[in-house]
């Protein structure tokens, strides 16, 4: 078979389409799919930022309460069993500030990531460049979020728990348990981040780079 024959065979499918289109569902599906994608992204990023911001605000609120609240009313609380010291309020305020910093960092990082996804490439090479840059950015965020997002959040949570436990005068076992839990979850999340980089992002980047190399090499 020569190439002209192949072309005739190829063109034969124009007369008998392989599929029919469900026209009734078409527009609804396009709209649904587009909206669903936007909603899912907005929900994920919005919820993440909101939860972090609420934690920060709650910590600052407790810090403010310990500083300016009525000492007699606070003394009646079940979880205040020792006299309130200035360091308790400072600990909560520092933790709240650190948590808000993490929330802001994550929100800005996600916004930057979303903005990078918007440009529309007109060629396959442009699309590959965009995809490679996007995976590179995901790796960078996954790495930096550990130092700028997780560690400050863990320190803040640790500070907050230390102040709370001291105020509640809990036993040393409770400290040990919470420290252990925090360490386990920290190790778990750190492991998951590096696992995602090694087994998800890096292979995807290699695959894209090999495709780009193939596109650039006429003899490939």
């Amino acid at each position: 078979m020569n190439f002209e024959e192949m072309k005739i065979i190829w063109d034969s499918q124009n007369r008998e389409p392989l599929y029919a289109i469900n026209a009734a569902a078409l527009h609804d599906l396009v709209r649904h799919r587009r909206d669903e994608e936007h909603r899912r992204t907005a929900c994920r990023h919005g919820l993440e930022s909101l939860v972090n911001a609420l934690c920060g605000v709650a910590m600052l609120f407790v810090g403010g309460l310990l500083t300016w609240g009525d000492p007699d009313w606070l003394a009646t609380s079940r979880w205040v069993r020792v006299p309130i010291a200035p360091w308790h309020a400072v600990a909560f305020c520092l933790a709240g500030t650190a948590w808000l910093f993490c929330a802001a960092y994550m929100w800005i990082a996600r916004r930057r990531q979303l903005r990078r996804e918007e440009p529309f490439a007109l060629s396959m090479q442009g699309d590959l460049e965009r995809a490679i840059a996007h995976v590179g950015f995901q790796i960078q965020v996954a790495r930096s979020i550990l130092w700028w997002g997780l560690i400050p959040a863990w320190l803040a949570a640790g500070l907050c728990v230390a102040a709370l436990f001291h105020l509640s005068n809990v036993s040393a076992w409770s400290y040990a348990l919470i420290v252990m839990l925090m360490m386990v979850s920290f190790v778990g999340i750190t492991w998951w981040q590096s696992h995602a980089i090694r087994h998800l992002y890096e292979p995807r980047r290699r695959e894209l780079e090999s495709l780009r190399a193939k596109l650039a090499d006429p003899n490939a």
Binding site: M6, Q13, L18, Y19, I21, L122, D127, L215, P218
Partner: protein, 170 residues
Amino acid sequence: MDEHTQKQTFDGWLGRHRGLLFKVVRAYAFTPPDQDDLFQEIITQVWCSIPRFRAESSETTWLYRVALNTALAWSRKERRNRDRTHALNSEAQVLLPQSRPTHPRLDWLYEQIVQLDHVDRSLTLLLLDGFSYREMAETLGISESHVGVKLNRIKAQLIIKSQETNDHEL
């Protein structure tokens, strides 16, 4: 661009060039649910691309660009994401397979195309649909001479494979 104009353009494109999209779908997705998912993804991207269309290229070149880029991105998506999308859209199928007489030669041609890597597969589709070297170069973002070298190799490869396959098998 208002939604009514966008819808008119979308319906017009789909009415005139749906066959082109079907070819990309068949070359990149192999099971009916995957084909339906890829088609939905392509038409969603086509819809979103309409406001950016400036008529500097022909409609078919534009649609091929969008469809091929989407197919490439779709192929990269993790399997579990695709499964989740199937689950969400399982009740609303857009692509309805038609019963038609079998075309062994066309099926053979598709078999050869899907064995090519993504870049060569895209070029083969454009070549078979009669696009010029310039249009192919623009669609892929490479030079025309580069396209020529690749196409010569692909053509030779396809001809050798057709010679290796007995006529009675086709």
